[in-house]
Every structure is written in C-alpha cells, then in structure tokens.
Subunit: 223 residues, 2 copies
DNA sequence: ACAATAATTTAGGTTCACCTAAATTATATT
DNA sequence: AATATAATTTAGGTGAACCTAAATTATTGT
C-alpha cells in the first residue's frame, strides 16, 4: 500500500478524478496530455495504482481508469488543499485570480492537515474557491454541482455564472475584464447556429460580448 | 549546472551553510547526521555539487565542504524562505513558535519568489523570525550576528536573549514556559564549574531556573 | 470484412537520490 | 613509530518516476 502518496501519485489521482467527473473512465492518453507525461509512463503508473493495496484506481487495459473509494478520498484531499490554498492566496495575500493556480499546484502536496485546518478556519470554511469551484468538505465529501456549460444555453435564456475553469491565466484575465465572474447574471442575446458563438449581455456591463466555444465551454452557469 | 536546484540539493546547501557558520568546513559525517542520510551518500552528493557548473560547494576529500558564492546565494535563498515562512505562520495563522519549523521545512522549497515577496511585504520586511534568527535580505545578504551562546556567560553577567535554536519543539515549549524568549533580559546567578549548569534570573519571572548545557548552548545572547 | 488509423502496452533504457558493506585514509593514543 | 579508532570513500546495489521505440490491440470508415 502506498502509505505515503507521492506528489506524482497525488497528481494522477487528482486528474483521474476530474476526468471521471465528465461521466466516463480516464483514458491513458487524456491523462498523458493533462499530466504532460508520455502515455507509456501513464500505463505503468495506472497498473501500479491498480495493484497497490489498497487499490487506488480501477483499471482494465484499454478501458481507462476510475477511482476506488480510497483513491477518491485521496483525490478529494488534494483538491481541497488546492482550492483552499487558492482562496487563501486571493483573500490573504492579495493575489489575483489568474495567479493562484500554479502556486496552489505546488503547495497542495506539501501543506499539513494543521495548515489546511487553519486556513479553512481563517477563511470561514468557504464552500467555493475564487473561480467558483466547489471545495470538498473537511471530511472529504464533494458537494453536488448542478451547473452546466454556458455553451449549452440558447437565445433568451438567463443564468447566473457559478464557476469558471481555472487553469488558463489568459482566459481568467479576459473573463474578469468582461465581468464574467461567479454570481454575476447574464442573458443570451443570440446563438449562432453556424459556429456556436453566443452573444451575451452581462449584468453591469455596458455592451454585449460575443464568446466562442473555447470560452463558453469553460464557464459554468445555473439557471 | 544544476539550473534547477532539487529539494535535496537545497537541503544540503542549507545545512552546509549552517555548519560553516561555526567557523569550519562541513564534514561528511556532520552533514549525514543532520540530513539523516548515510555518510556514503553525502560524499556522493558533495562530489556532485563540487563538480557542477557552476560549482556550488568547495570540496576536498577528507576536508569537508564550504559553499562557493553561488552555493551561498542558493543557501540564503532557502533560509530566507524558511524564516519568512515561520514568521508568517506565527503572525498570520496563529501557529505557536514550536509548531512552525517542520511546516516551513517543507514549504521553503516550494514557494515562488512572488509568494516570498508578498509575505515579506505583508510582514513589513521583518529582520528576525519568531525564534530571533536573522532573515537574509531580499538581495540575499545575511545580516551580521554578534550573539554568543548563553553557555559562555559566567556569574553576575547580564545579557539579552537574541535567538534560540528552532528545531526542537520540546525545547521551544520549555523556553517559552520559563520566559526565555528573544529580547528578554537575564542575569547569571551562578555558574557550576562541575557540570556547566547556569542558575539564571529571567526578567519578569518569579523564581530562578537552572539550565544545563543542552539548553544554554542553544540560546544565544547579546551583552 | 478489412485495411487504415488511433490508442495502448511492452521492452528496454535513464536519472536521481538514496542504501549497505567493504576498503581506504586520517587522526589520536600510547 | 605503531596501532587503534574514527572518518571517509569506493563499489555495487535499489526504487521511483520518467523516457523512446517498437509491438500489439481496438476502433473506424468504406
Ligand atoms: Mn486551480
Ligand atoms: Mn488535507
Ligand atoms: Mn526566494
Ligand atoms: Mn527559525
């Protein structure tokens, strides 16, 4: 049993968790892309994680990987660290929301449970991070998320921004600029059948904006 | 050239720096003890650090290791991180001074220069950490330290506590209890020729305390 | 159904930072 | 000066986490 979860293993579990959120098993290639590791190396690690005691992933060759219960707990632990850290960096150290992701990606593996508890308390046990992403609870349960991609809305529909993808600083700066941040309301003025572009009125903004799929697939809203 | 300084290398450099502070070169065995690594492994690493471009240490077999200028800068970088982090943990997150060392030992390798700059600013560019240890400046210069071991004082001498060794939580809790913390004044009431014990009156404390060498060699004072 | 393409796995490396055991040097004691 | 002791180095490992190139297995389009 990997009594100690290395930083590498923690990263694998975190990314498998995120891929699993989209319904299906995490494929070797998808993991390789996201982790920036050769597919062959990913296969090796998946085999190891599946054969460890306790098994952290469920893996059948050519079928991708799923987390076991212990694997999921470990993943949620890392994700909780990451999101609490991002919140802490913004709230306490004045980072902007596009600067926190990479810092949190390093710190998440290193902080103690004590540190985690202290920042959670200092922040008032927040339920969402600066990008609106849900923070797993202290007992490692992920709150349910009803939001859906902005890209799935059509003309005249209205919704509230809930969360945005956090890994692209340039996207985050753009979103901030056009006012697309959590809890802001917006209305779809037009949907273009041709390219999927959405023309959107954002609450508090003078002019409408047109957003392509690269953006609307990374913003999640509630109706 | 180790363009990237691994966590291991950073630890070696930090400990070589500290051993060098006591005047002479850092011996293989002393490093092995402090790093909890077999002497044979330390030899290997010292050879590697001496042969890297640029060389980080000066090393001649059987003579121990000294830092080169680049090695010293790298060491001071890590030490600055460590001490700023300790200060931050105490000031901002309410850690007590015996809890911060191990947390800082992990974080010191991972924070960005941006993080370093932000906490330094938030803390008002402190010159000492919670244990009174001097913090290297942002341009990596170590301020000079005039303090000497409490153990070197004799009967009737008076002094001010400047810093205490930070790596033993039990010692730190004891020192706090008897009021031996930075900037506190004390007077030597008796020196025992036999075992080196000192009987000490600590400013603000009702009764005298007797301290052995294990303690008095880890407390540093100014006259 | 079958070839072309894509995804995945196997095989055989590498690097890093360790280890133990044995051999070699240095230093200290008589 | 010789010997005992301590410090240091050499030699020959290991395990983790990667890599590339080649081989295998799945999937897709016609
Ligand atoms: Mn993030
Ligand atoms: Mn945790
Ligand atoms: Mn720094
Ligand atoms: Mn300290």
């Amino acid at each position: 049993m990997p009594e100690i979860l290395t930083q590498s293993i923690q990263d694998y579990l975190k990314h498998i968790y995120k891929l699993n959120e989209n319904g299906d098993a995490a494929s070797t290639n998808d993991l390789a892309t996201r982790l920036n590791i050769a597919p062959a190396s990913v296969t090796g690690m998946l085999q190891k994680l599946a054969n460890s005691k306790p098994a952290l992933v469920l893996y059948k060759k050519h079928q991708g990987a799923t987390l076991t219960k212990p694997g999921e707990k470990a993943a949620l632990e890392v994700i909780r660290h990451h999101r609490l850290l991002e919140t802490f960096l913004v709230t306490t150290l004045g980072y902007s929301w596009d600067e926190v992701h990479s810092e949190a990606d390093k710190l998440e593996h290193v902080i103690s449970e004590d540190f985690e508890a202290r920042i959670a308390k200092a922040l008032g046990n927040p339920s969402r991070d600066p990008h609106g992403e849900l923070i797993p609870t202290a007992d490692l349960v992920m709150p349910s998320d009803e939001s859906r991609p902005l890209a799935s809305l059509r003309t005249d529909e209205a919704a509230t921004v809930k969360r945005v993808s956090d890994d692209d600083p340039a996207l985050l700066r753009h979103l901030r600029e056009i006012g697309v941040v959590p809890e802001v309301k917006l209305t779809i003025k037009n949907y273009s059948e041709f390219d999927g572009n959405l023309t959107i009125k954002v609450e508090g903004q003078k002019s409408n904006v047109v957003l392509g799929k690269e953006v609307t697939s990374k913003v999640f809203v509630d109706k």
